[in-house]
Symmetry: D4
């Protein structure tokens, strides 16, 4: 319950400024959120510095541009994922400061450069084809105010490349690991560190990869206990989840 | 590299106590871990207070008892998951302080009662049949030194029961949500809070539930961005992952 | 048996107008339907005001236009689903009164504006991408003579938006709920009301959504007992089924 | 909002019986349901005469008996589904009037014999092996106050048996159709009538029946538009959904 | 239409023995089958000598015995498939002539020894584990009056054993081929002969055999055009289908 | 063994025309087929009048034309399936008598008009969208010398249309039944007749039809015993298999 | 062609000992194998020292004992896989030298101790639960005359244990890698060595492991090119395949 | 451990050229590979003559050309798989000696013509549509220095064609077998020879072939023990694996 509003209402009733019937009527028309069932205040601190997000896929360039321009009027960062060069062109006409992160297929405007995350988030990918998904995680975490690093092309069939970069792992507070095909990298990484690992199966591969299903199942069955999984190709979700952890 | 060991070795060589050939030979027989490739030290703080864990399923009572007794000699908490009353009886004979958490199907000895987690972990379950999985998450998080609460039987088809307990959600730092059947609860909970939600699909249900597959797919596709997923019925993994986050 | 026809035949035989052999011969050539095995008369009342329906997908504009024009000659409403702007252009040339419901991808001619449904049918969608399916349900129910409302973008990850519109739910006699991704909305809605809920999984989503399979399985396993399910993206079927119920 | 409660509260505040601060405090401790978010009153009429339901599977005889006895104290009918003879024996000791519907694997006490349904619900099954699921639908609809008939063993490979009973179909207001194997019966029945058909895939069959998956997919793809589907073997859900429709 | 019945009815009406109204009334109560929609006469020749069939699985010994005894009173052969030794014992008490075909898990009484099939049906199996399914096909075809041979353990990994028996293939009019695991045998056999091959996937195998799914898919994709497929383990269906062909 | 060849060889050896060593040498270079392992002679009668067949899909127009022209030089009928108008144009330039069966997507030259089949093959389809597959079966059976009829748009949701055409079923010796979506038609047809039914699942449908998988599973589980199944959309295979049966 | 036999036959014909007709007759009755189509001689060297193999699963103890005793009469090693203690007891009574390899669930008699393999085969397993499958590979390779080593419990989540044993990998000529759950180990091992790796998915795991499907898909998609895969739990096949390679 | 490097370092320390602290520092900055964890030297012999490989799919012509040109500067063969004519045109401009193996969709430069394989590798395909995959295996094995033969269009439905070429099988040391549809060929081939068979499922087929899944499952379940499997359409992997074996 929104105490202040209610207290004022009761006081007005007591003071005779509002009749009991009028008070009930006002409660009826009260916006639902004011009754306390919207996202809980207590967590608001976690939401400071959150970017505005647009899912670009399936939208026309004009639709993306229109939504982007509206959101960009506020002070928050704006992030449009799964976008194309055509969509960016339309956005750019309206929002001059917008940038296209081509590798991540993302359009961004960064208004708020403050670091909200407490440590480093490192985004790791198994192969070069996984990079678009990894970059989506990177840009998401950046727009949410994190110090983000990346480590690409360290697939499990060349384990020495991963081992050679163990310092990067050591210095991270949260890890995002993207892998297609057999999706084995999160287990290996998870076994090397003690911090949370967010695994992202990618649809990279062919044949029995079944568009990411093999990687997804592999990650769900990870023998490392510090691994949890998001949807196939969901770089955004991984970056978002990692950012939440990094703010704790 | 384990600097101290190597420095001493080099010094011994310099001092003539060890010949270069002997030094190489000693390196050859050096335990691998000493070379620095074991779990990275920097994260060690995260591992303080970690319980010793046994996966009981498929082991004979005697096997469980034997491993349990050995691990219980050290100071750490010991947790055996997926255990039976028969296995507990065998353990109890050897480790008098062992307790059976029947609802969680877990055997524990709690040596270390210190709280390592910074906030509250709340474990939520959709239906009463999901409770064994939820309880496994609870006991895991407890053995890892967390303040754990639970909120059961708040399935999405009775959304008011969940809303009535929103205070519990507000006061949590990490949430674990267990649900079978359609697995919708994590999305709803995820939408109500700003903290990380670990979703656990359970094998509860029949018919098209396909032993948890329906719930798993539902959770992977959660429209809430603060949800990540562990394996079907993996209460242990969820409790473990939540504990890692809560230590950050 | 079609009593009147048979009675007349027997009377003709009795009166000597028709010989027994001729009577048997006439029965042989009697259209099958006249023997009573066509759709049963008793239910005919339910079929009054039923629209003529065309499934446009896979048909050429000319094919759709030709069928549409033929059906539009009768007094009933005509509804073509899964149509394109090209198909509409072809129809428009022949049937001037035809309208294109773009959001529903449907072409309609409304001849019969009578309300056959007894209450309100409300069509709900989880996300904006589900709207085409929802709109197909809307236009179907409208063409079948119902008072139809809609409530869009009330996905389970923002449960307050749904709760804020609970009045709409209360005032409905039948509900159609469209959702992709995890398909959780029907369970939540089903738990809030006591009326029948027709769930429509949509192919919205990516990765482990598997073109609507995740949503379909989720809905089949709904923990709300007042939910039944139609095929993926089958807005027409949901609108049709809801209309049948609303006529009872 | 629960107007009466709030109006009285405002009046007490106005009358000075309750201070504004106390009023806010009382709202805080008000049971959530009283705030109006429980199942909406407007639909309450639909819930009159609803049975109390227990899902027996996986519960011990004692658990079932205990819950059953508690629920049987009220005036409503009580229905326990998926029960065994052992569970019934335990219930019988406590609730003398309890009956075991063996074919339906259900335990019932019928306190309220009133007919709430407006027409006849007919439950149809394709084969004799589908009868347990069909009977579960029958007993559910009966406990919800309906006039229920059944028509068994009318599978599509013997279409004449179904046609010979077309009168039964004609006289029904809602149909429940249970079928395993290819699950084709709902389509055929749906094509013969104009009323809503609730299809229940059963796990009957072997080999490529895949425990009801074949029947489920068949029913989802029904070419009859008046068919919607519930979960595999979910006779209860079908009977429940049919009863809701029959009360409209 | 059943001409004789109708002709007599019309004659009675003409003769004044029956009034038109009475005639209509009699038609109403006429058994459906008499109206001509039962299994079509023209095909009756194909059904002469057809056995009575009982599906034993899931039935109690007493149920099987009771049905078997009733059917055995007529002149036709009786075949109970998927039976156990216990079921046989119960049958034997009632029907002294009943025999147990253990390898086929079938109980039979052969009353009619006439050969209805025009040529030889040969049943082939890939491995020894496929024999129960193959034997079910054998006994079915025998009970339907065919000259049946078999050729077992001629899997594709020992192609010379199959080739060594090519004479058996040459002399057959119809072939039934049972195989589990990869289900490749029907393609090889189909390529060696010009007659129809009925393929039966069996649930033999482990791991990725997925209870016959691998064999089923393999057979569906046979590169031999003279192969069609029945359900997994459906030896009865294959024997039945082969018998129908052999009667043509 | 090819007796004549061997007898002559032995006689030549006996007559001294060929030395034993030369004879062995000649055997070594003897074409494999001459040793008797090619398709067995005994079945040759079945192959008289068989068409030459080309699978057009994935081939360039020029490739199809080139193969077609070569095969058309012989006396047999030529059938190219899965072809396009472009492929036909290329064929037509080379083989003036070639015809395009557009509905069947087939190119044919009919040289041999003899009837090899003993009865009528009827090809049935559930919906209009199944017609291309049905027509492929029709043209295949025609090219193999059968009297072929068809009966389209008799889906199970309009069972009276099928019943009204029962005469067609009665007069057929073999039936091919094509259906997508739930694939229920073969079971219904199979139950109405005593002759073999070849079922062809089609990829018609959307959503949970899963490109023909639902229909395939439905047909595999047919409760009619006179049904066997070929691959999804395999009209050619069904027509071929039906023709083989019809020649028996 | 079996030259010697044929040469003698031709000589006999030339010499008049056998008439041409008799010669043809003799060829007709010649065992098929003698015509040269049995397993090709050239490879016979590879088969020297091959064990006789029995698949024990599904056989009665008496059946296993009977086959085992018969095979044990020859000089070759005998290997029975998937056996139980009961089966061993029955074998032991007949073949005193038989041994039970409990961990491998195998019964063996080793007659031939010769080493046919040229190098070391090392069998690796990810977890302790994979050991039965790994041991089956070990015992198979041993019975086929190889120097076999093993390396257990070196799962990817503890990559240092694997790295610590890299010497074992270096010294192997062929590797067999068994892993359940995510099945990632073969990729990691494959990346560390240049020799062939035979991957065996095991059914170890729960939930989304789907009885080995997750591991199977993972291994099929291995990013290491020197990995090929055998069936789930097929330790025998892996040991066999590795042995063939090791003999080359 | 890289002994030489370490020995020198110890000697330098002993000789006073390097202080112990400096030595530790140098170890810290030592490239990881030098520590011995890179691909193990012992196997290096196997890697002599290995081609440089590029996976062309998804890369722009310019990307392929750029990588190709860089790799072509060294002495090794270069192989780009899954390439197009456009990609080849771009490569050709930079590397004049590059050739396009159109059937294999591969671009190659052969610098090193030495034979590293000890015997013949034969690549077999079931149908003409499997040839692109087979050719990829051929070109891969050739670039790895093998004597490669091929045998195409020997599907199991024409087993005599395969038998007629048994000499080719006999003379091979390793076999690669590519097949789509039911994927049965590896089992048949495996049964005819004693050497290792690498099976490659192809995505050839339609309907229930499910893009190679049917073939994959068939091959996993091969009843021949000398068969192991690589990913769908993975001709490269099969050629690579076969080459490794052939070097042993």
């Amino acid at each position: 319950m929104n105490s202040e509003f209610m207290l004022k209402l009761f006081r007005d009733v007591r003071a005779g400024k509002t009749s009991p019937d009028e008070a009930v009527m006002r409660l009826r028309h009260l916006p639902f959120e004011d009754l306390g069932f919207a996202k809980v205040d207590h967590h608001r601190a976690l939401r400071v510095g959150m970017p505005e997000v647009i899912f670009g896929q399936g939208k026309t360039p004009e639709q993306v541009a229109s939504i982007f321009a509206r959101l960009a009027k506020h002070g928050a960062n704006v992030l449009a994922t799964r976008t194309t060069a055509h969509q960016f062109a339309a956005v750019k006409k309206r929002v001059g400061r917008a940038e296209f992160r081509e590798a991540a297929r993302a359009i961004v405007v960064q208004r708020d450069g403050k670091k909200y995350g407490k440590g480093v988030i490192t985004v790791i990918s198994a192969g070069t084809s996984d990079i678009p998904v990894a970059e989506e995680a990177v840009v998401t975490a950046e727009m949410m105010g994190n110090d983000v690093r990346h480590l690409y092309d360290v697939g499990v069939a060349g384990i020495h490349r991963l081992l050679a970069n163990r310092n990067v792992l050591v210095e991270s507070r949260v890890l995002v690991v993207c892998a297609g095909m057999e999706g084995a990298l999160p287990s290996v990484v998870g076994g090397m560190v003690g911090v949370p690992v967010i695994a992202v199966p990618t649809s990279v591969g062919y044949g029995a990869a079944f568009n990411g299903l093999a990687a997804l199942l592999g990650m769900m069955n990870s023998c490392a206990s510090n691994v949890s999984v998001v949807n196939i190709d969901n770089g955004f979700g991984a970056g978002y989840f990692a950012s939440l952890i990094n703010r704790l």
